[in-house]
């Protein structure tokens, strides 16, 4: 095999792909245990109703029926409710006395076969007494109907969160020469991984729980199970197999998991549960932020103040997967790439009769909402002041010499060069020529739009002084063991769902040790073997676990230095690590490779500790702040409202790049999701609380046919505090692209006087906006 030493920055092919490309991945539904039962769930058709009774007699007549479980049985075992991740609320496992949203889990059924379980679920007869529905946060905030009488305070208001200086911001807005205001809604979305969630729970002969589950955070699950079930962690093994996408959907602990474990415990047989598509689509969501944004500026376009008031729809439970001290996640990144002297963000969250969640969707804790709001508002400001959108941004960028930059909303940005990245993008897209073409087309009445998004995101949660989930600090562990041959095994507490850790983790370690990345096995997802870590979501793997790996490798290098000194019969202080080997300073040609040191570690370690392995925990000193400039070019058909994305360019700056091909793949995937959010996707509800988007017929996932051609590129501004200077990229395209798409469409429609349209920009919405604008112009 050709060696690929010195692997950092190389487009090494993904080591995991042979098994995926041949259909040999090991997903949850590929796993079956002897004697296993199948579980199915009964869901409520009512969004809000009292439960007057559950009759399981007909269900138990199904051949193969084993048991029906409701909240009554779960409450008897004290597992009727779960704590939510940040500990500020609790969540029903099965509906307890009432249902709070449509498709809520009401009962679990257990049967000998999958088919029998589904038949049973159909036949469980639940007697509902419908209650008034609050499907809109602006309605539920009136407290006309209290949705959660189980809570201490009789209100649908969950929490208020705010950051920044209100009085100064109000004064600055008051004094501004120009103020723009816009109500911007980021619709309810769903991460929609192709593989839904599922699990198999088994208590083995020793009474130990073996829990196979689709989890982005296996260690968090194990600790959560300890907290909920009281089973000590040595009696729990959580195994997360190959995952068919996650995007945040596989972070929460779902009721189905608890019911499967409860069933396995009581029925003394393994229990398997695989979500249906509709179950997956109706159990959690992302976003649903209603934002009122105001920017103050001079008439020349220099920003003076930013104020955002947000109403957050959290659904029936406050189950947002945000860190404990950050109930609105990292929404404070809403000042974006711009140097606002004053800023204030205020947010109120409400219960509604909708599914709970507020998980990410390829978004680092509410960063997408924030980034979309500021990038839209900057375009509106540019439009009102009649300044070019790129020039307005250029006037207001945080400058390279300002880093580390203290933002007015309490982040310290690590590094960035926003103008450079934007210039690369404008040059490559041919911005000046596009403006010229647009002017010509506008003269002919054609609708062409150019949309910019020069976003900054915040990732890598995170530093233990600020971040925890269920009280567990958000650092990460890494273990490296080097075998005598110079090959090795790498284990982390993260869990790839397609990010390519089996390749990139090997590249990081190989680079630090001068070994071959092809010869490293990367293991994740088994809590029996992986070091503790908080998992993979919110773009935290490379910033946190990636840092842990680099430092662990360096720790091994220091141990190797002692062995190298012994083998070379010199003092370790005479050795220099250079060109991927230990060289004796002053003696050219006298050196030893890491492979040779590895062999010596097991054959001739001298007085040193034999072997070559280590475990290291990394607590990052700060978050990382990737940024980018995205440009969309669209043509809108005036007659039909059809938008064609003619070009889309993404220039990302994610710091040091480990594997450019994987970065490109991540960006392609994220842009496709961003495109879907901008033009297609919404979890819609009607006034009665009916969820109208429960499958892929109603909630659209673009294929390669719909997706535009993606052009990508990068600039590199390393993070000064990350061990290898890396930031992250998995979420940047989803964070940055919706605004670019919408800005482009609004830019196309701006000659008609259209100022804003909320996503998704379906043909119908764009067509209606054009017709309304034309009718107003005719009046």
């Amino acid at each position: 095999m050709t060696t690929e030493k010195h692997a950092m920055g190389k487009s090494m092919k993904r080591k995991e792909d042979p098994r995926f490309l041949q259909g040999k991945g090991n997903y949850i539904d590929d796993i079956n245990l002897p004697e296993q039962l199948w579980m199915a769930l009964v869901h409520s058709p009512y969004p809000h109703a009292n439960i007057k009774g559950v009759d399981s007699s007909a269900a138990m007549q199904v051949p193969g029926a084993v048991a029906v479980v409701t909240s009554k049985e779960l409450n008897a075992y004290k597992v009727g409710w779960l704590p939510t991740f940040h500990g500020l609320d609790k969540q029903m496992v099965l509906a307890d006395g009432k249902v709070l949203y449509q498709y809520q889990e009401v009962a679990a059924v257990y049967a000998e076969t999958r088919e029998a379980a589904y038949d049973m679920a159909e036949l469980v007869d639940v007697d509902y007494e419908p209650l008034p529905v609050m499907a809109d946060p602006y309605k539920s905030m009136t407290d006309e109907v209290i949705l959660r009488p189980d809570r201490a305070n009789a209100t649908n208001h969950i929490f208020n969160w705010n950051v920044g200086k209100k009085a100064e911001t109000d004064a600055a807005l008051e004094a501004s020469e120009h103020v723009v205001k816009q109500h911007i809604k980021f619709q309810r979305c769903h991460a929609a991984p192709l593989e839904p969630c599922g699990c198999i729970a088994e208590f083995d002969v020793m009474g130990r729980l073996q829990f196979y589950v689709t989890s982005q955070a296996p260690h968090v699950y194990r600790t959560a199970l300890f907290l909920v079930l009281g089973i000590p962690e040595d009696k729990i093994r959580v195994i997360s197999p190959d995952l068919g996408g996650g995007f945040g959907n596989k972070v929460p602990v779902y009721p189905g998991y608890v019911c499967a474990i409860a069933g396995a415990l009581v029925l003394k047989r393994p229990v398997k549960w695989i979500e249906t598509r509709t179950e997956n689509m109706t159990s959690s969501f992302a976003r649903d932020y209603h934002m009122d944004i105001e920017i103050g500026a001079t008439k020349e376009g220099k920003v003076t103040a930013l104020k955002v008031n947000t109403v957050a729809d959290h659904g029936a439970f406050d189950a947002a997967a945000d860190p404990s001290k950050y109930p609105a996640g990292m929404f404070g990144i809403v000042t974006g790439s711009y140097d606002f002297p004053n800023a204030y963000a205020n947010l109120d969250a409400y219960f509604t009769n909708k599914m709970p969640g507020g998980v990410a969707y390829r978004c680092s804790f509410r960063v997408t909402e924030a980034s979309y709001a500021i990038e839209r508002a900057m375009d509106i400001l540019a439009d009102e002041l009649n300044i070019d959108a790129a020039e307005l941004r250029r006037k207001n960028f945080v400058q390279p010499e300002q880093f580390p930059y203290q933002s007015p909303l309490n982040f310290i940005y690590d590094s960035g060069d926003y103008e450079k990245t934007m210039d690369v993008a404008l040059e490559r897209i041919g911005y000046k020529e596009l403006l010229k073409e647009q002017a010509e087309k506008r003269a002919r009445g054609e609708l062409m739009g150019i949309g910019l998004s020069t976003f900054t995101e915040v990732t890598g949660a995170g530093p233990s002084k600020h971040f925890d989930i269920l009280g567990i600090k958000m650092f990460d562990g890494a273990e490296i063991r080097i075998h005598p041959s110079g090959s090795g095994i790498i284990r982390t507490g993260t869990k790839s769902q397609g990010q390519g850790h089996e390749t990139t983790w090997a590249q990081i370690v190989a680079e630090e040790l001068g070994l071959d990345p092809q010869n490293f096995l990367v293991e994740e997802g088994d809590t029996d073997t992986a070091p503790y870590g908080l998992g993979t979501y919110a773009s935290r793997s490379t910033p946190v676990a990636g840092g842990a790996l680099a430092l662990a490798a360096r720790k091994i290098r220091e141990k190797a230095r002692k062995i190298a000194a012994h083998v070379l019969e010199v003092s370790e202080h005479d050795l220099e690590w250079k060109d991927y080997k230990f060289n004796v300073m002053g003696s050219p040609g006298k050196s030893i490779t890491m492979q040779e040191v590895a062999f010596a570690a097991y054959t001739n370690p001298g007085d040193n500790e034999p072997g070559l392995e280590t475990t290291l925990y990394y607590d990052p000193p700060n978050m990382v702040f990737p940024h980018g400039t995205y440009v969309a070019v669209v043509d809108v058909d005036r007659d039909t409202g059809e938008t064609k994305v003619r070009r889309f360019l993404a220039i990302d700056d994610c710091g040091t790049i480990i594997n450019p091909m994987i970065v490109e793949g991540q960006v392609h995937g994220g842009l496709t999701e961003g495109f879907a959010i901008a033009f297609m996707q919404e979890i819609a509800y009607d006034d009665e609380g009916n969820n109208l988007s429960t499958n892929f017929t109603d909630y659209l996932v673009p294929t390669s046919l719909e997706s535009p051609h993606w052009e990508t590129g990068h600039t590199v501004t390393p993070s000064p505090h990350h061990p290898i200077g890396a930031k992250s990229v998995g979420e940047s395209p989803n964070v940055g692209s919706p605004a670019a798409f919408v800005n482009a469409v609004i830019d196309a429609l701006s000659p008609l006087g259209v100022k804003h349209i909320d996503m998704p920009l379906t043909r119908e919405k764009v067509w209606s906006a054009i017709r309304t604008a034309e009718a107003q112009a005719a009046d």
């Binding site: 869901h43 509902y128 009607d686 009665e688 609380g689 009916n690 109208l692």
Partner: protein
Amino acid sequence: MKLEYNGTEQVPLGKDAVWAFINDPQKVASCLPDVKTVTVHDDKNFDAVVSIGLGPVRGSFKFKITLEPQEGGNRMNVKISGGGFGSVVDLLAGADIKDNGDNTTTLDWSGAATMRGPIATVGGRVLDAQAQKLIAGTFANVKTRMAELG
């Protein structure tokens, strides 16, 4: 999703005969379109299994039906609730019964249906046609059966 309907049927029977008919669960149930089975519990309550075909929602829906005759014999309310495949329909229908004095009776009916679950995602026009079929069909059948009796 909420849908509302109303209509008028002229029945060639006297008011007393009409009143007797619509107070008989067995007879009312036989007027439901595409009815498969009827189980009468008492003189006001019965269950009916009805075939439904609505886009992807196809199969049998089980409805609980309660007759609520109003005092004076001038109005009958009917409460229908039930469903299948995770969908539910709650229907409140009622008819004012007017004696025309010529041995015919006018049924002035209205109904409001609330759809929940997958059925609500099918789309207003398809649903509307089906609900129309169910409600208008029922009252049309009432008229036909009564005419047969007459």
